[in-house]
Symmetry: C2
Amino acid sequence: MAGYVSEAVIRRLPGYYRHLKELEAEGVRQISSQELGERMKLTASQIRQDINCFGGFGRQGYGYSVPELREHIGKILGIDQTHRMVIIGAGNIGRAVALSDSFPANGFQTMALFDTDPKKIGASIGAHQVQDMATIASFLAAHAVDIAVLAVPVAIAQQVVETLTANGVNAIWNFAPVDLKLPAGATAVNVHLEEGLEILSFKMKAKGE
Amino acid sequence: MAGYVSEAVIRRLPGYYRHLKELEAEGVRQISSQELGERMKLTASQIRQDINCFGGFGRQGYGYSVPELREHIGKILGIDQTHRMVIIGAGNIGRAVALSDSFPANGFQTMALFDTDPKKIGASIGAHQVQDMATIASFLAAHAVDIAVLAVPVAIAQQVVETLTANGVNAIWNFAPVDLKLPAGATAVNVHLEEGLEILSFKMKAKGE
């Protein structure tokens, strides 16, 4: 991979991947930076810059090979490999993630769900039975897990993260509306759903003004 | 509101709002740009710039009033008002949004859920009964609705959006992994969940290298 990639480019990578997958499904084999730019609402020069930046390969006057570029970006994202996840919190969000077809279809496999609520422990969610959070350390000792989906109340989020990282899970997909403190070596992506609604509210207001 | 606000500042507004709400709950009444910056992992000068930009009011050597600033940002975001939502798609995501306590607690109220699936129509989700998508136009004619939560498969997302905007709903909270084409006057915020996981995968890989 070609050296330093800026945060802005990283944030665009999944968009590239999605559009290239769509193009492949449509049977498109080659695409110019111009055409890809129109589709992604970026300029052709932005597209060329981005793709140069992550070490892509166009041929002058020929454009990019859609399947090659899709595969290349998939490798950069690391989604050519399977990721194993545990879901912490069997509430609405944890349940939605566990029941989704699209995550496993893209290599993100839920291994188990955990909760502290005696009313939820033992309940079936899809193919899983909710397990007791008190047993998470032994589960993580016995199973290779890459990612924890954090779908717990704010009040306990930090404490749960400390348990997870202490037991070797260093990637957190965080749905709790709180900024987590992470040890070195751990990483998180936040999904602050509420904030999306707030920005939508702002945009509605701006349009109305 | 003070003139033009950049997209980057807009994206930070919900974070300000969340941190100020937390500070209020902790009983903090005044905060300096230095302290707020430490909390939000921004520099003091960034904080001052942002707050100037959205027309905030600090007093030299005194800092910001937490409740005043929180209220001011709430007004800018438009979340001092109630928003009424319909949820389109009674699958895992639609269900999770409908059952959440936090959205209504913050003024985002679900009015109704719609689906096309005869097996889902009539089913109870919390206080709601899933309604037939075929009846959406008459529902929207009879009820004031600000926001549609789009939780449908990609294949029908664009068509559903056209129905919604034709019936006066101009704000879309989009969970379908597709870029919607919107008429002028409509606005959308995308929650592409899968992309968050892909970025997490990238970051894990980058840490491992």
